[in-house]
């Protein structure tokens, strides 16, 4: 469960480039809920995820994960509760390390790391089992360098790594945006399966309004650092992209151009 209250964050405070990214954003995501997040460029989507993961610390407001206040904790101290998949397929893994080394890093996420061997034999069976579900033949390539894999394969492994350990919440930052359409669909299906199987609380940022409506069970739209609307259940069923645009215009009383909201 995620509870976010009145988050405020301004980049470059006191400079000519002052940019208020979050302006009193509040949001509650229930346990096991899969929420998609949309919004134009600069709406605060990525900043919200960065604030949740700890990559940026907010100026004011409160962030709770499962009732624990994490507002002031740095990224590595939250990592046990928060797992994340980045937009850039190269960002979530280390290309110079092998597949099994990358997964061994993830299996200890949020735990103490000692001087014991990093890649343990008993891990390998789990890794193979997990990789086999991807149907990419990676289960026989544990010792291969991550850099040898394609972007889609790396993103699939990143997802698997994010789900190796029980974490409270899963953050997905446009994690299919940099992939070709077929691979993107594969990674999206994998995402749905993992979230469903592990009953994860997940927040998925997407640029595609179509995807935002088709995936998950609730859609939140951000605009200028605030939640402008939040739909779920029956209200969300059967909603089309143009309905969504109209809803947005009605809410804000402003004209939305195709440039500011990318249609998918």
């Amino acid at each position: 469960m995620i509870t976010v209250k009145d988050l405020r964050l301004t980049f470059g405070k006191g400079t000519p480039l002052e940019n208020p990214a979050l302006r009193g954003l509040s949001l509650t995501v229930n346990q096991g809920e899969f929420v998609t997040v949309i919004g134009s460029n600069g709406a605060g989507k990525s900043t919200l995820l960065n604030a949740l993961s700890g990559e940026v610390l907010v100026d004011s407001g409160r962030i709770e994960v499962d009732g624990v206040d994490v507002t002031r904790l740095s990224t590595h101290k939250r990592a046990g509760r928060v797992s994340r998949v980045f937009q850039d397929p190269l960002a979530g893994t280390c290309e110079n390390l092998t597949i099994e080394e990358n997964m061994s890093l993830a299996i200890k996420r949020g735990m103490r790391r000692g001087l014991g061997s990093a890649v343990k034999t008993r891990y390998r069976d789990r890794f193979r089992e997990g990789l086999a579900t991807l149907n990419l033949g990676l289960e026989n390539r544990l010792g291969d360098k991550m850099g040898l894999l394609s972007g889609g394969q790396r993103q699939a492994v990143s997802l698997l790594m994010a789900s190796l350990n029980p974490s409270s919440i899963l953050l997905l930052d446009e994690h299919t945006a940099a992939l070709d359409p077929r691979t993107a669909e594969f990674v999206l299906d994998l995402t749905k399966r993992i979230i469903h199987d592990q009953k994860k609380t997940a927040l998925m940022v997407t640029h595609s309004m179509k995807q935002a409506l088709e995936v998950g069970e609730r859609t939140v739209m951000l605009h200028q650092g605030q939640v402008v609307f939040d739909i779920a259940g029956q209200e969300r069923e059967g909603l089309t992209v143009s309905d969504l645009l109209k809803l947005f215009e009605k809410q804000r009383g402003i004209e939305v151009s195709d440039d500011s909201l990318l249609l998918g």
Partner: protein
Amino acid sequence: MLSEIALYGAFETGLIYGLVAFGIYLSFRVLDFPDLTVDGSFPLGAAVSAVMIINGWNPWLATGAAILAGMAAGAVTATLNVRLKILNLLASILTMIALYSVNLRIMGRPNIALLSEDTVLTPWYDLELAFHQVPVVLFFIVAVVVLILLWRFMESETGLAMRATGANPRMARAQGIATGWMIILGVALSNGLVALAGSLFAQSQGAADVTMGVGVIVVGLASLIGGEAVLAPRSVIRALLACIIGAILYRLAIALALNADFIGLKTQDLNLITAVLVTLAIVLPNARHSVKALFSRS
């Protein structure tokens, strides 16, 4: 050609610089942290152990103290970078400069002779070995022990976390790794190794000198890059072996260059030769590619 003494001398110094190359591998390669502190931590190791030895301490204890002093110096550099946000290269230059004063303070004078003192080498001279073979045997054992320890460490959970910190800090943080502490630990270990090398160097050469650190970074880099050219560092163990091989090859190349009378090189040309060798080691692998490209295009 090389005399036997010169050959053993090259191996002796090569093994010591292999330890320096380990340190530079840790900072430059594993952590992606260009660390020039080594020019100060090498004489620091020498200074600490020399002062302790002339005051009657056990030489191994003095060597251990040198390692700790080097680690402290590395920790200072890394803390300047991690906590005070000073650019890594600049932070290391600051510590290096500061260490020059510190080393003079520790020694109380610019150099300390150890010729008549008991060093870690002394008991080994009782063995059935030729005089010039003793340091090679002892330093080989030290290098192998350090190599195995370092290899095991790099393959441990903490070591893997350190490798991830250097390779992809954002991913490392997301996996719950305290990257700041990893950098401090890694740079400290790196300088501890270099101080160990400085300590052994002083004990085998019979003196610690405040200027003995000049250019250590370049020689260490030359060893590292040369070793990587010979043995592609596809795994940790290969990378560590490359450090030792590179350092020995480098010393052999220097010894050959200085011994070949027809070239006319003298000891004072050492730094120039080093710079040329490093340049060649960096440029040659690229040159090979461009030559290949030239042919594949036609």
